[in-house]
């Protein structure tokens, strides 16, 4: 039988607020245990929650980014269960009325575009952490994280492969950083995914029984976990077994998932509206105020890069895969146009190539946090583009000489490009007679190639160009070489 996997995600994103969602304690990561646990975080008798408006603004930002309805009146509810790192014995969350309603997110899977429907996103507080270190045989409790604001983002069961699920998670991961609501740090747990997986015979429109893989904190593990879980479910069904609803954990060491608790053992959370908090009312003015601070979103920016700078879709997509890179490119283009005139807009593709092929690749290799940390600034890109356009240098010199020099020597000053050209004598030769002399030399020395070309082998032409460039130590103007060669071989 042909099987189809059906996947939905619940993602907990820690919001980048300075203080906790219901108290003034700091949310900074990595402090000594319990040094950021105030009276509210510890749940002392008599303390009360007060909602952090900053967290609400983050939720509105997300709602606007996925084109969702913002709940004008949402309600905080208590989710009751006992656990040592849950100080109140309940988590304040949202149940029936969430702050963000239905929305959608477009993802790219290979060459295909797909829309994932988002069911809802709601605000809630994070729990503390249980520490299983050396505490005289006991468990330690660190309540620093307790009360950190979370936005839980829930999708419809719209994904049909591990690749789609990972593409969604990556797109979401980028989006929450793009709009500045989450630092995206998966190691520190700022972005955690629970994945619901079920399988069904292909063509069926009935959902199979799902199992939930909890707390995946890397995209690689997510891919592995879903693939394993899918195989396991299909094998179980094909062996005549049935799937029991369960919560499972992924073990990265074995690459397997194992059941944590079954449906029968599941908690009855006894949700009810939290009487300590009034319903959260969001006005049109609140939404307008947040809207005014929203950055241009990746989708819009991608379209603009295609339309304004004439980029192919692939390049536009690459550049908008992170906000830093998109802004870096945008800044380079704006500077270029500002300094060299609006006609330079035609160099968009050149700028994009430099950034994607040269700079981004180096940033990745050097494992810099993002492109803003590159010593080659947007201004350097402008200078390189300008010098290529006016014929001072060619792309070979840029790739092999100038960029390595600036990068390696960390030449961050504004004139770095011209300085390197000068210092290394990279000015290309555009003197007609000098190039003609080189071409004549090359033609004389490569009679075989000339013959091939004349016999109809177009490729031989490129070989001759290469020889001319080599002979000029890379300094000949390639356009002129082309022109003269063509004339001589005609």
């Amino acid at each position: 039988m042909q099987w189809e996997v059906v996947i939905g995600l619940e993602t907990h994103t820690q919001l980048q607020t300075r203080t906790k969602i219901f108290s003034g304690a700091s949310t900074a990561f990595g402090a000594e245990p319990n040094t950021q646990a105030d009276a509210v975080s510890i749940a002392l008798p008599g303390v009360l929650p007060v909602l952090n408006r900053e967290a609400v603004q983050c939720a509105i930002r997300f709602g606007l980014a996925i084109d969702a309805e913002i709940g004008r009146r949402s309600v905080f509810a208590r989710k009751n269960y006992f656990y040592p790192d849950l100080p109140k014995g309940y988590q304040i969350s949202q149940y029936e009325l969430p702050v963000v309603g239905k929305g959608k997110l477009t993802i790219q899977v290979g060459d295909a575009e797909k829309t994932v429907n988002i069911t809802r996103a709601h605000l809630e507080e994070d729990a503390g952490k249980s520490l299983h270190g050396d505490f005289h045989g006991m468990t330690g409790i660190d309540l620093n994280r307790a009360g950190t604001p979370l936005l839980e983002i829930v999708t419809e069961p719209d994904m049909r492969s591990a690749a789609e699920a990972v593409a969604y998670a990556k797109t979401l991961h980028e989006l929450v950083q793009w709009i500045g609501i989450c630092d995206g740090n998966m190691q520190e747990g700022s972005f955690r995914c629970d994945v619901n997986v079920s399988v069904r015979p292909k063509g069926s429109d009935k959902l199979g029984t799902r199992r939930e893989i909890k707390n995946l904190n890397s995209f690689r593990f997510m891919q592995q976990a879903i693939e394993y879980e899918t195989r396991w479910q299909i094998e179980t069904l094909e062996d005549g077994g049935t799937i029991q609803q369960a919560t499972v954990l992924f073990d990265p060491d074995t690459g397997e998932t194992r059941s944590m608790r079954s449906k029968e053992e599941a908690n009855d959370y006894r949700y009810f509206p939290d009487p300590d908090l009034l319903p959260l009312v969001i006005s049109e003015a609140d939404i307008t105020a947040v809207k005014a601070t929203m950055p241009e979103l990746p989708e819009a920016m991608k379209t603009r890069f295609e339309q304004e700078y004439g980029l192919p879709e692939y390049d536009a997509l690459q550049l908008t895969s992170s906000k830093d890179m998109a802004e870096y490119f945008d800044r380079a283009m704006l500077e270029l146009i500002k300094n060299e005139g609006s006609s330079t807009i035609r160099h968009g593709k050149t700028v994009a190539n430099l950034i994607i092929n040269e700079i981004a690749a180096r940033v990745n290799r050097a494992e810099l946090p993002n492109i803003r940390h590159s010593p080659i600034t947007a201004w350097h890109i402008v200078c390189l583009t300008k010098r290529m356009a006016d014929g001072t240098i060619n792309i070979k010199a840029v790739k092999e000489q100038i960029i390595p020099a600036i990068w390696d020597e960390n030449l961050t000053h504004a004139n770095a490009v011209d300085d390197v050209i000068e210092a290394k004598g990279l000015k290309q030769v555009s003197d007609f007679s000098a190039i003609e002399a080189i071409v004549d030399e090359v033609l004389a020395a490569n009679a075989a190639m000339v013959a091939e070309y004349k016999a109809g082998k177009e490729k031989a032409f490129n070989g001759l160009v290469g020889q001319c460039m080599k002979a000029s130590k890379g300094k000949a103007n390639p356009a002129q070489v082309n022109e003269i060669l063509k004339k001589k071989l005609a």
Binding site: L44, F82, G89
Partner: protein, 484 residues
């Protein structure tokens, strides 16, 4: 001095007839003498109280005294007070020393008042007789074999026995008004949201409200001036202009329309209480008020609604007492679940457990709609009853409790009979309205309270209504015997 009004105490302190230290010591001595029997206080800390008194004397000497500066007040042991053991009447918090002040406590501190000690109460404010306290029963000073009411029974007994000039209480379903009635005091539960709940240990968050307990309406007004304030740390605290609750005390009552709910004078009301309350209402007619019969048709529903909603909230509010971070933890246990079970089995008393179980049940999957949701709907109907009623009258009057103080142990084994104690008070909490009880006389030698219910934020008017009555009666100045 022990029967003096707050105003007279302030005058005496201002005139240096007595210092705050002397006044505080006087009450500390009386506590030392009578508390072993009456058991109104759980915790007394003379050193702390006297230090506050000494600080107050400095303020008085510098002429920086406010109306309550230097006056000692008993604080219900539900309010966290920094450095004070705060037990909420429970073994669970037997050794809990609060590291911070409740808003109410800091308001009294800022006024220069003295904390005289923490008063006994039903465990986690669950009870109407003060018999559920882990720290023992409290005697009613009017008849030591009887209960003082609850849950603010310790505060009521302390003021009635003149072991404090006045006290704070909290009222979730009648916990200020019923003990005030049973102990011959004046007590006010303000509109929900007028006093901050920050630092007040939660029982049922949507119903809990702090309020003053004192001898007279005038004393209540002076205390309200300190207790009522917006507090950003309580999201249900109301941001309102600061009021002077004494401003209307002396307004005439001519033309006041008093609503008398049919349902409050029906079956279940003790005849002696009924007569005493009706006599008081007659007194109001003499003062120029008119009476009009009204109906609060859903009164009977208020008890079942309350006993769904309050336990539901309590079951969640009390989850934090799990032995992990503070409070009682079982000495021996095998694993986490065993630690939870033993800790809570040992730390909570029977009534608290009963309400946690009821609350857990009504919130459970499959029962939520039938109980919790239904009760919330009925809660709105009950509030609408009052909305209708206040179209016909300015205040509503009736008994605060169906009877006078009952004998200790009399209702212990019959929770429903105990719950009926709150028949006339609970609806007020469900509607979030202000309610007050003032001494209206005696039935068989025991105090009877007249309940005055006002519309939202009409506390000043209610205090005026109480005060006018107390200008022509002296029930509020009567003292029980045997407290010399």
């Amino acid at each position: 001095m022990i029967n003096a009004s707050l105003k007279d105490l302030a005058t005496a302190l201002g005139a240096r007839q007595i210092s705050s230290v002397e006044l505080t010591q006087l009450f500390l001595d009386r506590i030392a003498r009578h508390n072993p029997e009456i058991n109104a206080y759980i915790t007394v800390d003379a050193e702390k109280s006297l230090a506050q008194a000494a600080a107050a004397d400095v303020l008085i000497a510098q002429s920086k005294a406010g109306p309550l500066t230097g006056i000692p007040f008993a604080q219900k042991d539900i309010f966290c007070a920094k450095g004070w053991r705060t037990t909420c009447g429970s073994k669970m918090l037997e050794n809990f020393v609060a590291p911070y002040d409740a808003h109410i406590i800091s308001q009294f501190d800022a006024a220069g008042a003295v904390n005289l000690g923490k008063t006994n109460m039903d465990e986690f404010a669950m009870g109407s007789s003060n018999e559920t306290s882990y720290f023992g029963k409290v005697q009613n000073p009017w008849d030591r074999a009887r209960v003082p009411g609850g849950s603010s029974g310790g505060s009521a007994a302390a003021v009635a026995a003149r072991l404090a000039p006045a006290a704070t209480g909290t009222d979730t379903g009648g916990s200020i008004r019923q003990p005030a009635s049973l102990c011959g005091l004046s007590g006010l539960k303000p509109t929900y949201g007028v006093c901050s709940r920050y630092g007040m240990i939660a029982f049922a968050s949507s119903l809990d409200q702090a309020g003053p307990m004192a001898k007279s309406a005038e004393d209540l007004a002076l205390m309200m001036n300190v207790m009522a304030a917006f507090d950003s740390r309580d999201s249900t605290s109301l941001q309102r202009e600061k009021e002077d609750y004494t401003r209307d005390l002396n307004k005439p009552l001519v033309g006041l329309r008093i609503g008398l709910p049919r349902e409050y004078f029906a079956e279940g009301l003790d005849a002696g209480v009924a007569k005493t309350v009706l006599d008081a209402i007659e007194q109001y007619r003499k003062l120029g008020a008119e009476t009009v019969e009204i109906s609060l048709p859903n009164t009977q529903l208020s008890i079942p609604v309350y006993y769904v909603l309050a336990p539901a909230e309590a079951s969640s509010n009390l989850s934090r007492y799990d032995g992990v971070r503070y409070g009682h933890r079982a000495a021996e246990y095998t694993d986490l679940m065993d630690m939870y079970c033993k800790t809570r089995a040992q730390g909570f008393g029977a009534e608290v457990k009963r309400r946690i179980m009821v609350g857990t049940y009504v919130l459970s999957a499959g029962y939520y709609d039938a109980y919790y949701l239904k009760a919330q709907q009925l809660r709105r109907l009950i509030a609408q009853d009052f909305e209708q009623a206040f179209k016909q009258c300015d205040v509503i009057m009736g008994p605060a409790a169906p009877g006078t103080a009952f004998k200790t142990g009399e209702k212990t084994d019959d929770p429903v009979a105990m719950y009926l104690e709150d028949l006339y008070t609970i609806a007020v909490n469900l509607a979030g309205l202000p309610g007050m009880s003032v001494p209206a006389g005696f039935s068989n030698g025991l105090p009877v309270g007249l309940q005055i219910i006002g519309n939202y934020f009409s506390e000043a008017r209610m205090l005026n209504v109480g005060h006018a009555y107390q200008q022509v009666t002296d029930w509020h100045t009567r003292m029980p015997k045997g407290i010399e």
